[in-house]
Symmetry: C2
Subunit: 329 residues, 2 copies
């Protein structure tokens, strides 16, 4: 019989989760951290709800991840927000709400995944809270830091900037499709399928790109965000915040290699959850950035004075559709 | 007809919540803060679930608060965790999960309450996330700071220390009783009833005590925590962390003035949610601390070498009951 939270109680649960947390920082009313001297603090919070952001079979939604995947992915999404700001992580807190009949192993799996992702990116759980609810949900707050002059904001794009993406877009959406429709996935090369599923279940926040940017002696002016809501949303929001427009060159966008090119492009623009960075910067730094960011990084467009965002597909200019963007509620 | 979250959509909701947040810090992937030079960061996360921590009539639990109260109280609980560490607040993030049929006015009320409490204590909402769920829940993360040598930990109590409480214990529990059983409350003086209800609905984190401690030129050694889980839990946890024991003097504990003294003492020890501070320190500083903390602050016991926690009631020594402490799940 599965051990549930109701069987084990809160104190026993906390004792079981302790190995996944920073050894010295758990136990008081709050956690204590030493921020790097002279750096700004960068803070981001994400809420993830079972049946909405992930599925472990409690709600009426197909299961596409293990608890360990859920933990990894939840933290990766938050670390990606730090990367989008040019910050490196200091630590995180986790607020867990869970039903009493939830298996303890599910919660341990989630914390194991968060701890593994944290370890991969040099950070750890330093505090949090656990409580009872009718729905399993996680609220993760990551703390990071960056020198003031190296923080990446959305409102710094300038006309003439190029737009760089740090990797393939649409792969997470393609991975989800493989999990939801195995018959469709059966026609694909095994290697591709595995790579997409990996992108969906264990996304990698691009803190490596931030680390490279830190090494630039003169801090470059960069506007950017991550592509957690899709490439279109990222470009639209950067342009809106910066009071500029953009043209995206469809042929340059690194997508998944589907024979249905239209599908691949739609997933790249609107699929979301790729957790790559979308950065606007002067053209001269872009080739080096692409070289460092990996084989699929590319210059995919440019910032223009007209305040519209258009997709250039062959000789046509198509406006990007904000209406396809995901909204909660 | 009430406007619901489903009617208004996520972007409209965020626009409506913006007035309750720090004007300049909302809009990017993460919020940016400047930590005070040379201070440590102190971070605390609390999760609050409708039907468990508060009731707005969505679950099968009596309603004892308005949405504004819920917001105030949720943040006050978190600020109390900072006070318990000797820290002053820098800002907070809020993770909101809510059902689509939740009235927008409910959410606005909660944010209004958080903003009011933040303003009263010199801090504000700097970021967060909103998403859909089947249950209304809030996850608040407060960031604060303190000089390293002024942080209050649980494990610093020493034999011979006195135990100070900064105010009445059991008043929040008494306020809840007034709300749940108006017929009982009807027999009480109006002034008392209102004061207790206020303590329950709008508790005050004791950041004023932290501010006074900051003014002590030589940082005193203090062990402590807040009494959010009741006075008994606070003393038991301080003693466990410090490897010591304690004797509490029942007659000295500031309780609500019930004719049923046993009831008042039980609420003081186990009622919880008073959000006062329980501090262990050398006897010489205690009278000044009590004078500053207010009329009901008192020295209620002492730290002893035997690792048990006992209540001295007249000539009897009664062990405190960890089994009465609240556990989730």
């Amino acid at each position: 019989m599965l051990l549930t939270l109701a069987d084990c109680g809160e104190l026993e649960l906390i004792a079981r989760l302790r190995p996944y947390c920073h050894r010295e920082l758990i136990g008081d009313d709050a956690a204590v951290l030493t921020p790097p001297v002279g750096e700004q603090l960068v803070v981001s919070t994400d809420v993830l709800v079972e049946g909405v952001h992930f599925s472990l079979g409690m709600a009426d939604v197909p299961v596409t991840m293990t608890p360990v995947d859920v933990g990894w992915r939840s933290l990766a999404a938050n670390l990606s927000d730090l990367a989008a700001m040019g910050a490196l992580p200091l630590g995180l807190t986790v607020g867990l709400a869970a039903p009493p009949d939830c298996p303890v192993a599910t919660i341990e799996g989630i914390y194991q995944g968060m701890a593994a992702c944290g370890q991969a990116y040099g950070t750890s759980i330093i505090g949090g809270d656990t409580c009872r609810s009718r729905v399993l949900s996680l609220s993760i707050t990551v703390l990071g830091s960056a020198p003031a002059e190296r923080i990446i904001y959305r409102d710094r794009a300038r006309v003439g900037d190029v737009i760089v993406v740090t990797g393939i877009h649409g792969a997470s959406r393609a991975g989800l499709e493989c999990l939801l429709h195995p018959q469709w996935a059966g026609t694909l090369p095994e290697e591709l399928r595995q790579a997409w599923i990996q992108t969906h279940q264990r996304p990698r926040p691009r803190l490596d790109v931030v680390q490279w940017l830190r090494q630039q002696v003169c801090p470059p002016r960069i506007a950017g965000m991550d592509s957690s809501d899709g490439l279109a949303a990222a470009v639209l929001q950067i342009c809106q915040a910066s009071g500029v427009g953009a043209v995206l060159w469809a042929e340059q966008i690194p997508t998944v290699p589907l024979s249905d090119r239209q599908q691949a492009l739609t997933w790249a623009l609107y699929g979301g959850e790729d957790f790559e960075l979308v950065l606007c910067l002067a053209a001269d730094l872009a080739p080096d950035l692409c070289a460092v960011a990996g084989d699929y990084a590319a210059i995919v467009g440019e910032i223009v004075p007209e305040t519209t965002v258009q997709l250039k597909l062959k000789d046509e200019f198509l406006p990007l559709q904000p209406s396809q963007l995901f909204q909660h509620f």
